[in-house]
């Protein structure tokens, strides 16, 4: 079969090229002791056939570099992380079927990690083992996009970097819960909604995600965005399930504003209330009697008439959300708080009509 011959020929070419390239280096520094290279070398074109989601049957791409900072910063789509240093401990991550195609890669021609792991895999009895010797630098040069870890996304979020996060899942999924700061452009509506993508195609990084490692939507959208001319496109492959596992629901970022000045987005209010109430400080500003008759489970009670006296006892280490019955007193509390403690930025109120039962069940209806 030609497929088998091609890599071998390329491998031979590569080895001779490598020798030529390494010669002056070895002469000058003597440090780059050449390591034992794995004989079965493959190139970008070969790897690209398998770097797909869902993953083609009987294949697995393995990133041999350290998980942090290398793998999380960027990896070949669909690749799993088995750092060479952890290989012996992580053999359970390898497929059971020993005839599965295993492609190892790391940081390029000077990196021995993928070769080391490939030899070990062959010792374990895997019969179809390859090394993508040019590794990740070559992938970045040739491919339309690559994937990133959620750790990298979180860091960008916190640093306020110039990116746009896009949720490629259907709108309903997005509304049920999404990674903070994401906008919804479902893959199926990519064309209709492409106007929502950033205007600056060269500099703004577009980060796609969807329902996790088996979900192809973010990958499809990423490719389309590249064809639209976006230069800097990546996929946060672990998607929303991964985010929930790592950081919880609604974690990490400030509240999203609603339509009225100072109001919080009602959807987000409910998501955090249900999923991760520790993220906000909920203050119910109704009277003690109303509060006693039913309230949001995590809310504390500071009636609006007492707020002025008690303003300094309110902790400000997380966003504050005022609520009442109709939004009127909560809005008043919001403005009063802003007036008295202008230094505190993260203050919101719920512009909604709320009904409670005695066992703290609630119905929240956004106003207008």
């Amino acid at each position: 079969m030609t497929i088998n011959k091609l890599p071998r020929a390329l491998g031979a070419l590569f080895v001779s090229f490598m020798l030529l390239a390494a010669m002056p280096l070895m002469a000058s520094a003597g440090e780059s002791k050449s390591f034992k290279k794995f004989p079965e070398i493959v190139d970008y074109k070969f790897v690209a056939k398998y770097a797909k989601v869902p993953r083609p049957a009987k294949s697995l791409i393995i990133d041999s570099r350290p998980y942090k900072p290398k793998y999380v910063a960027g990896f070949v789509p669909s690749a799993v992380s088995i750092p060479a240093s952890q290989f012996d401990k992580m053999t359970d991550q390898l497929p059971k079927n020993k005839s599965t195609l295993l492609i190892f890669y790391c940081g390029g021609l000077k990196c021995p990690l993928s070769h080391k792991s490939a030899f070990k895999a062959r010792e374990l009895g895997y019969t179809n083992v390859k090394v993508y010797a040019k590794g990740f630098p070559d992938w970045k040069k040739n491919a339309l996009y690559h994937s990133i870890g959620l750790e990298t996304l979180k860091a960008k979020m916190e640093a306020g970097e110039n990116y746009m996060l896009v949720d490629a899942r259907p709108l309903k999924k997005f509304l049920d819960g999404a990674i903070p700061s994401a906008i919804s452009i479902p893959e199926r509506q990519f064309s209709e909604k492409r106007g929502m993508l950033p205007a600056d195609k060269a500099n703004t990084e577009v980060i796609y995600y969807c329902g996790g490692f088996k979900c192809p939507l973010s990958h499809k959208s990423a490719i389309k965005a590249r064809y639209l001319g976006y230069k800097n496109v990546v996929v946060a492959e672990a998607g929303y399930p991964g985010w929930k596992e790592l950081y919880g629901v609604g974690a990490g970022v400030q509240a999203q504003a609603g339509e009225m000045e100072g109001s919080i987005d009602t959807e987000q209010f409910l998501t955090v209330l249900k999923g991760n109430p520790d993220q906000f400080l909920f203050i119910d500003v109704r009277s003690p009697e109303e509060y006693a008759a039913g309230h949001f489970p995590p809310a504390i009670n500071i009636p609006v008439d007492d707020l002025e006296k008690r303003i300094d006892e309110i902790p400000t280490d997380k966003p504050i959300v005022f609520s009442c019955a109709s939004g009127a007193r909560a809005g008043e509390a919001y403005y009063m708080f802003k007036d008295m403690r202008p230094d505190v930025k993260e203050v919101f109120y719920l512009e909604a009509t709320n009904e409670f039962t005695e066992d703290n069940q609630y119905t929240v209806t956004p106003n207008k």
């Binding site: 000045e261 009127a328 007193r329 809005g331 919001y334 403005y335």
Partner: protein, 107 residues
């Protein structure tokens, strides 16, 4: 453009501005108005002055009251309040007046 049309448009503009000057309030932020009312008005109304809530009057009365704020007896006490804040206060009082869909007492 002919002179007549210009004169007409000019007259129209003057009329519009005159009418809108006659009553410039409305459409403010009732939430903020509620707070501003407490801060600037409730310090007297309800204590030393008459207890005054949105539901104390009907919408037409509130409009009439704010027609000329300088005639409001306690005008002196809230001199220097920006127009925008006065409008927010008006919006709160007017939108929660006795004949509004949601009449309100002060908290």
């Amino acid at each position: 453009m002919n002179r007549k049309a210009i004169t007409f448009i000019g007259a129209l503009l003057i009329t519009i501005s005159a009418v809108s000057m006659a009553f410039a309030f409305g459409g403010g932020n009732a939430r903020k108005g509620k707070f501003l009312y407490r801060k600037n008005c409730r310090s007297c109304h309800g204590k030393t002055a008459s207890d005054l809530s949105p539901a104390s009057m009907v919408q037409a009365d509130w409009k009439a009251t704010f027609e000329d704020v300088s005639k409001i007896p306690c005008n002196k006490d809230w001199q220097g309040l920006p127009e925008k804040d006065i409008n927010d206060i008006f919006t709160y009082l007017h939108d929660y007046a006795k004949d509004s869909p949601t009449p309100a007492k002060c908290s």
